[in-house]
Amino acid sequence: MLTKKVKSRIMFLILGFLLISIIIIVILKSLEKNVVYFLSPSEIYNEANISFNKKIRVGGLVKINSITRSGEMVNFIITDLKNEIIVSYVGIVPNLFAEGKGVVTEGKLKDKKYFVAEKILAKHDENYMPPEVKEALEEANN
């Protein structure tokens, strides 16, 4: 039913598809370090040659009971439940910044366990619910 011309066009497109997919996969693989928006504490812990002069981003959960404030200064711990990093920051934090919630910080590493942040972004999760439901859930858990 398909004419020769149509068949050759289909072949051309299929080959093109394969070629472009391979190109895109190779590009994304080689750029992976740049595509990733932030590193987790474990990734920093496992990274052998990490730069202490370049700005990087670290993200994870704010450890419960770890936020301490003194004036403008905020100290807290970012955890990915395996490794932790102590972060210190001077400035205003976003509204959604809270213990047990996600956070992404931008700044420089002092050493593998200590990070000086210049910018703090709150990362929220994909769960949406009204406050009453949240309370009910918490009561059920206790």
Partner: protein
Amino acid sequence: MYKNFLPNKFISLKNNFTNILVVLLFIIATTGLIYSLLISPPDHIQGDSVRIMYVHVPSSFIALGCFAFLGFISILNLIFKIKIMPLLGKSAAPIGCVFSLISIVTGSLWGKPTWGTWWVWDARLTSMAILFLFYIAYIYSWKFISSFENANRTSSFIAIIGLFNLPIIKFSVDWWNTLHQPSSITLTSAPTIHHTMLIPLVIMFFAMLIYSLLIFLMRYRTELIKIKLIKKNYE
């Protein structure tokens, strides 16, 4: 269904269908807006700023869906050279373009109060910006390439290459660390949005879908009339 889109059939179709769509759009959009702005509850963390979701998420869906349609049309166009395909593509592209822009702008407005920033170059936001650029490239290839044949081929290739961006947008939040949170609505598991918020979201999605369909049909009719006029001038 397909036959209704053939030029002679489509132009002779009565306007009844569009009128029904307009009435439907009015009813669904009103319910959707009342539900999402007044009836639905605020979020337990974000408060009232969660209401941006009811515009942001459906717009993103339509922007992605519209480009998938554009890609599909372009594949058929290149393989089978069906005459109406470029017209369908030309009619759909501006709709997706506008919705991708709405998605980016509302996302930015939502990002400021929640994340604490208007824009970051994470994988999801960047790939969405690239989708917008693909729409612009598609539309402009029709505007600036004067020969119909060349414009048709170029725009089709742009749409097909842009198709590869769609899985990247969809899965960017799963493949890489991003500031954008993972999807709340997935095919494989139950949605993580409470049903009091999911219902207005779905209603708003249908409102925007019907709006897109309406604009699409109107634009398609215009494209057909344009072609007819050109033909008439030749005769």
